[in-house]
């Protein structure tokens, strides 16, 4: 049984549950404590000791169910036993579902079925498994019986063999889903992280969304850790007295005052005009995910004027929200000057020295007045101004790009075109707070 359990854990790992080797031992101990008799209990026990979050719990439960899902083979009522037939033929004729399932399991283990990685291997593996179960003997038997004139028996065996074949393929497909999903998904996700956002395929959107949420969550966790900073040299009299009560109030051990580092407020200003539309969708997704995990983020979208979209993002699910944001502000031709003016009206007063302003956009203002003075005002008030530009640095300043004129008023201006870059920039941003 441990063999089977270990395979299950491998499948779960592939599906995205983090399981260390120590946890494997814990899981085995848990399984031993509850026994293997009741599948539901075993599932609960393993979930309890392996899953570390609600998401992992769901993933694990799905994997568990899929792993232990077995099709009951369809077979006719059992006729009298025939001892003159090979084992497999006997089991097939007798409709011995349990026996067949066990034989299939053993054969699968024998050929290393959990090593399956590609869809195209399904048939090959199924065939190998059947061979191991004794298919050649069965086929010889069928031919022999037909030659001997027992057509009815031969027909029934033939029928059962076909059913068995289908079952074996089904089994292998499940194995594929269990064990190969992990590896292929990993490869795919790694590739996705490096694809340029503007070149992203529609069908990858779902996967991207999960990936973006994961990144946002990771960043937010790191970011939400509370941090204290010692104000060196300022004595905390109350706590010093408390701690030194044991020394009759003589301050042997001093306690210094500490200040909590406040979570800085973040404002995001996202360009959703036609020129950056393909990227904008992902940027919106990212803001959405970030707003989900970081409290107190204010988001704005603009093309030729700026609207606040914090509420839209908070109230709707991502697809709806993105659509509504696009309706509210999207697809116009961008006018950075007017948009900055509108933003200043909306929120310049709310920018304090704790505020980080992030601008996502290509700075292509269609030769409108860029209003660099407003950018300067924002820069003067905010703790940090960060500009993320989906264009590579070499294109900044070409054509109608006003990037070089805005750049002096950003603490940081980076090209940000793939998820990897996005993650790195955000990570740096949050780490370098204060």
């Amino acid at each position: 049984m441990p063999e089977a359990l270990l395979r299950l854990l491998r499948a779960a790992r592939g599906a995205g549950v983090r399981i260390s080797s120590a946890e494997t031992l814990d899981a085995l101990a848990a399984a031993e404590a509850v026994g293997f008799a009741d599948r539901q209990v075993l599932r609960d026990a393993l979930t309890l000791s392996l899953a570390k979050s609600l998401a992992e719990k769901q993933i694990f439960e799905t994997t568990f169910d899929r792993y232990f899902q077995r099709d009951a083979p369809e077979m006719q009522d059992a006729p009298a036993e025939r001892h003159d037939l090979p084992d497999l033929a006997q089991q097939l004729l007798a409709g011995d579902a349990a026996g067949l399932a066990i034989a299939m399991e053993a054969a699968a283990e024998g050929i290393g079925a959990s090593g399956i990685t590609l869809f195209t291997q399904t048939n090959l593996f199924a065939r190998r498994m059947l061979d191991r179960m004794g298919l050649p003997a069965l086929e010889r038997e069928i031919t022999a019986r037909r030659a001997a004139g027992e057509a009815e028996l031969a027909d029934r065996l033939e029928q059962a063999r076909t059913a068995l074949g289908a079952q074996a393929r089904g089994y292998m497909e499940r194995q594929l889903a269990l064990f190969a999903a992990g590896t292929s998904r990993e490869i795919r996700e790694q590739a996705l992280r490096r694809v340029r956002l503007s070149a992203m395929d529609r069908r990858d959107v779902v996967r991207m969304r999960a990936l973006i949420r994961e990144i946002a969550r990771k960043i937010a966790t790191r970011y939400s850790r509370r941090r204290w900073q010692a104000r060196r040299g300022v004595l905390d009299a109350r706590r010093t007295l408390r701690r030194n009560m044991g020394h009759d109030g003589v301050p042997f051990r001093t306690v210094w005052k500490r200040t909590r580092i406040d979570k800085p407020r973040v404002m995001v200003l996202c360009d959703v005009s036609g020129s950056v539309a393909p990227v904008a969708h992902f940027l919106l997704m990212f803001i959405y995910a970030l707003a989900d995990v970081l409290a107190g983020i204010r988001s704005f979208a603009f093309s030729n004027t700026t609207v606040e979209v914090s509420d839209l993002l908070a109230r709707h699910d991502i697809d709806q929200a993105a659509e509504r944001v696009m309706q509210a502000a999207g697809f116009g031709s961008s006018d950075y000057g007017r948009s900055l003016a509108a933003f200043a009206d909306l929120a310049l007063g709310a920018i304090t020295r704790d505020t980080t302003v992030i601008v996502l956009g290509d700075a292509r203002g269609n030769r409108n007045e860029p209003r660099v003075d407003l950018m300067q005002a924002i820069f003067a008030r905010a703790s940090r101004v960060i500009w993320l530009n989906p264009e590579p640095r070499s294109l900044w300043g070409t054509g109608d790009s006003d990037m070089p004129r805005y750049q002096p008023y950003c603490h940081q201006a980076t090209s940000c075109n793939t998820l990897d870059q996005l993650e790195r920039v955000m990570d740096e941003l949050l780490r370098s707070q204060r």
């Binding site: 814990d26 509850v34 209990v41 609960d44 026990a45 309890l48 939400s224």
Partner: protein
């Protein structure tokens, strides 16, 4: 001794009935978690929305095993001296004052300063012995002779240093006090930690725990819970109520009503002598279920439809 606790509970079923005998209706998964926690001596990290019975589970476990419950409420700024132990400073001072003469006597016939010190060394451990130790919840839990249920409530509210400090207690059931040495648990306590995910806990902490997530119960379980808690309630009313609350959870509310709210609501309805769910009564008592004004307004719109549906589901 350690085997005792584990042997008291032969199976998951007995845990389930045991918890039920204290009035806590546990789902199969919860019973399994408690069973495993006792067998494997691992702490349970209970997560879930507020009011689904996380803290209650610890109380029920203690009641069922007839062990004392030691509760530690976590908050920002909680430190060792409040969680683990503290010296009884006052007593130490008082005793040194009282024993001053005695000490003087002891030291009188020493020839040199060196000798005096030598003599003092022989007695210096007196004032830092267990007599002068004020045990706080964690130490008390380790010292409990029969074992106990230790509830560390809202662990996410404590800071990370404290979380790291807990690791030794959780995994090895021991704690180190510099002046005395390492204190081992007499009987490893059953530890429950609760959290409602205001902060992500560290991986080291998560790894050491069984991870139990208690969600909102389904209608069947919720009815059983209400029944266990409010025995006087009529069958039909109970069914309507539970159905109503279940529908309410489908709404997009800021704070979904939890089991504790259902129970409070049942009490309120009983006090008002309601025999069945009428929109008027529901409107009056909605503030028991809802904690926010916006939620109340949102829910108020659906009261009519929900009561109707609830009545149909209750077969009236």
């Amino acid at each position: 001794m350690t085997i005792d606790i584990a042997q008291q509970i032969p199976s998951i079923d007995s845990v389930e009935t045991g918890l039920a005998s204290t009035g806590y209706i546990a789902s199969r998964q919860i019973a399994t978690a408690v069973f495993l926690a006792m067998r494997l001596q691992k702490p349970i990290l209970v997560e879930g929305p507020a009011g689904v019975g996380k803290t209650e589970l610890a109380k029920a476990t203690a009641g069922y095993l007839k062990l004392p419950l030691i509760r530690m409420q976590c908050y920002d700024g909680l430190d060792e001296s409040k969680a683990l132990y503290e010296w009884k400073y006052g007593k130490q001072l008082l005793y040194t004052q009282i024993l001053k003469d005695k000490l003087g006597e002891t030291l009188r016939d020493t020839a040199s300063l060196h000798d005096s010190l030598e003599k003092l060394h022989l007695v210096d451990d007196i004032f830092f012995s267990e007599r002068f130790l004020e045990p706080r919840p964690l130490l008390r839990a380790l010292q409990e002779p029969q074992g106990c249920v230790l509830l560390i409530d809202e662990i996410a509210k404590a800071d990370e240093e404290f979380e790291a400090f807990l690791l030794e207690i959780l995994s090895d059931h021991q704690v180190t006090i510099p002046e005395i040495g390492t204190v081992h648990a007499v009987v490893p306590p059953i530890v429950l930690l609760t959290s409602n995910a205001t902060r992500d806990l560290g991986d080291a902490m998560k790894r050491r725990c069984l991870h139990l997530h208690i969600g909102f119960p389904d209608a069947k379980l919720e009815e059983r819970i209400v029944d266990a808690r409010i025995p006087g309630i009529r069958d039909s009313l109970r069914r309507q109520m539970v159905s109503f609350v279940q529908q309410l959870r489908g709404l997009d509310l800021r704070k979904l009503p939890s089991v504790s709210e259902t129970i409070d609501w049942a009490r309120a309805l009983l006090l008002l002598n309601a025999t069945r769910l009428e929109p008027a009564v529901v409107h009056e008592t909605l503030n028991v279920l809802m904690k926010f004004e916006v939620d109340m307004q949102l829910a108020a719109k659906s009261v009519g439809a929900f009561t109707e549906q609830a009545r149909r589901e209750a077969g009236l």
